[in-house]
């Protein structure tokens, strides 16, 4: 398969922007970097031929979810975080390193299993195939997610209500 330079550029952008997400002390900058990651991932999906997933990624993630994030940032604006200091910080770094190493080992073995079959073209399943599958075999998970979103909606309205003065 020919390497798509657009996909490579998107991958580089996502890798760098992900670092910015956790390194920026300003939450707003983190959120903007996260939007860059999400859009770059959408570009990768499109480049791989999964156009429907790319569209959902842009609409739901880069659109709806990030708007929620920006609203929360605006509400909580001006609050400073306390960075963990001393042994807690070292312990966190150690734990992050260990988890990363374990993941790296897992990915190395997964890399062999996921090696692309040669000479295959990727006719991406269109929205028609995905919909047929989603509403036939995966109808229950689909309905459960719908119910979950409804429950989340109600929960958010309950949580976001200001307490009545007693």
């Amino acid at each position: 398969m020919v390497v798509n330079p657009l996909v490579l550029a998107c991958a580089a952008l996502a890798a760098v922007a992900a670092l910015f997400v956790i390194l920026c002390s300003d939450v707003m900058r983190s959120a903007l970097a996260l939007i860059a990651v999400l859009l770059a991932l959408a570009g990768i999906y499109a480049g791989l031929g999964a156009g429907f997933i790319a569209a959902v990624q842009v609409i739901v993630y880069a659109g709806a979810v990030m708007v929620l994030f920006l609203f929360a940032i605006m509400v909580l604006e001006g609050r400073r975080e306390r960075a963990p200091a001393g042994p807690a910080r070292r312990l966190s770094l150690l734990a992050a390193g260990l988890v990363s190493l374990a993941l790296l080992a897992g990915f190395r073995s997964a890399g062999k299993a996921l090696a692309p079959a040669e000479g295959q073209s990727w006719p991406a399943p269109g929205i028609r195939e995905i919909a047929r599958f989603l509403f036939a075999e995966y109808l229950l998970p689909f309905e459960v997610v719908g119910l979950l979103l409804l429950v989340a909606l109600v929960a958010v309205m309950v949580l976001g209500r200001r307490e009545e003065a007693e």
Binding site: L41, R82, V145
Partner: protein, 104 residues
């Protein structure tokens, strides 16, 4: 040069960065964004698996999985941010280690 190891590495990198963010940062918003990074790493891996299967009928569960993960993530973010706003509305500064009011 093949694209597969690059994207596999990107998926690993996104998840590792997400783990580091959850463990190192104390701002609840940044922690949430790190969780999003990890979810996206999983999504990227699912799409890669679908592509490995040639995007044929056997690949559809993988793509539907991505779809469902995005839906669940949206619900999770909505509830999580609402809890955050409710908890930190009365607090002076934002520190996840000091949140104990959710204990029973």
């Amino acid at each position: 040069m093949s694209l597969q190891p690059v994207l596999l590495g990107l998926s690993f990198w996104l998840f590792a960065v997400g783990v580091a963010g959850v463990l190192l940062r104390r701002s609840p918003l940044t922690v949430f964004m790190s969780v999003e990074l990890m979810l996206n790493a999983a999504n990227l891996l699912l799409v890669l698996a679908a592509r490995k299967a040639g995007f044929e009928a056997v690949a559809l569960p993988s793509l539907v999985g991505v779809f469902l993960v995005i839906g669940v993530a949206a619900g999770e973010v909505a509830v999580g941010l609402a809890i955050m706003v409710a908890v930190f509305r009365s607090e002076a500064d934002v520190d996840l280690d000091r949140v104990s009011s959710l204990k029973g």
